[in-house]
């Protein structure tokens, strides 16, 4: 399975890589450092010609070039991309950001913990729900 993390903070990227190494051994984590890079990955542009289609997108909100809100709007306008679940993962707890996220059709909105143990716990829950339980990602409980 493939997860695309859209995050510009190098420290946060490194922390997430460590979490994925410990928690999701069979999941490939791809990183885009801003919205434009993420769109190039999702649309397989330039050097991303062979990029896999991610099963989940984890999206930071505040980034350079194209921020998370703009990227989310682009994804949901694109018929080929809008079915991919997008979970906003940000340090912002501002209610206007929460409402804007859901309004732009984010699947859900999570506060990003700053310490490793809390982030690991949160990502375990995220992974269990979005990578194991939901359709069409993996039919773990499913009929087929």
């Amino acid at each position: 399975m493939d997860v695309l993390l859209v995050e510009d903070n190098p420290g946060d990227v490194q922390l997430m890589r460590l979490v994925f190494q410990e928690v999701f051994t069979s999941v490939r984590l791809h990183v885009a450092n801003d919205g434009l890079e993420a769109l190039a990955f999702l649309r397989r542009l330039g050097p991303n010609a062979k990029a896999p289609r991610p099963d989940l997108i984890l999206l930071d909100l505040n980034m350079p070039k194209m921020d998370g809100r703009e990227l989310l709007a682009e994804i949901k306008k694109d018929a080929g991309l809008r079915i991919i679940p997008v979970v906003i993962l940000t340090t912002s707890v501002a209610e206007e950001d929460v409402l804007a996220g859901y309004s732009l059709q984010a699947s859900s909105y999570l506060r990003k913990p700053v310490d490793f143990i809390a982030l690991k716990k949160r990502m375990q829950t995220v992974g269990e729900y979005w990578l194991n339980v939901t359709v069409p990602n993996q039919s773990l409980y499913c009929c087929s």
Partner: protein
């Protein structure tokens, strides 16, 4: 916390009520037995004048009167309701249903397992993710007034 379950099958209703009670006693699970009743609940109509605004909607697809796809379309086109996370919980895993529901802006799509243990596990996942980790929108019925960036 309030969840609205939209489900017509009495056995599934009972099982869901009991499983949520075990998973999280703080959740009040309200039941609408078809799509029309769900919309009445959400819009505080008829016998639902004092109904609370749910933090989450769990909805089956195939129901009498108004099915889940129609209700989802109504919810997501109503400025006062569209931000309530709506999760499809159904026995169907037909690709057409999955795609249709995502086009109609379902927040996620879950396949209802037949086995009891798997269903309990699914409910635990729903509770863990949506009720304890997710930041849900604090809505007042004035969704249309929120800023969109």
């Amino acid at each position: 916390m309030d969840i609205l379950l939209v489900e017509d099958n009495p056995g599934d209703i009972r099982l869901t009520l009991e499983t949520f009670r075990d998973a999280n006693p703080n959740i009040r699970l309200h039941v609408a037995r078809d799509g029309a009743e769900a919309l009445d609940f959400l819009r505080h109509k008829g016998t639902h004048v004092t109904s609370p605004r749910p933090e989450l909607i769990l909805m089956d697809l195939n129901m009498p009167k108004m099915d889940g796809r129609q209700v989802l379309a109504e919810i997501k086109s109503d400025v006062n309701l569209k931000l309530i996370p709506t999760v499809i919980l159904t026995t169907s895993d037909a690709e057409a249903d999955v795609v249709k529901c995502f086009q109609l802006q379902a927040n996620s799509f879950l396949c209802k397992p037949v086995e009891l243990a798997a269903f309990e596990s699914l409910v635990k996942s729903i509770n863990d993710f949506w009720m304890t980790k997710t930041r849900l929108p604090l809505l007042t019925g004035q969704d249309s007034l929120m800023p969109i960036q």
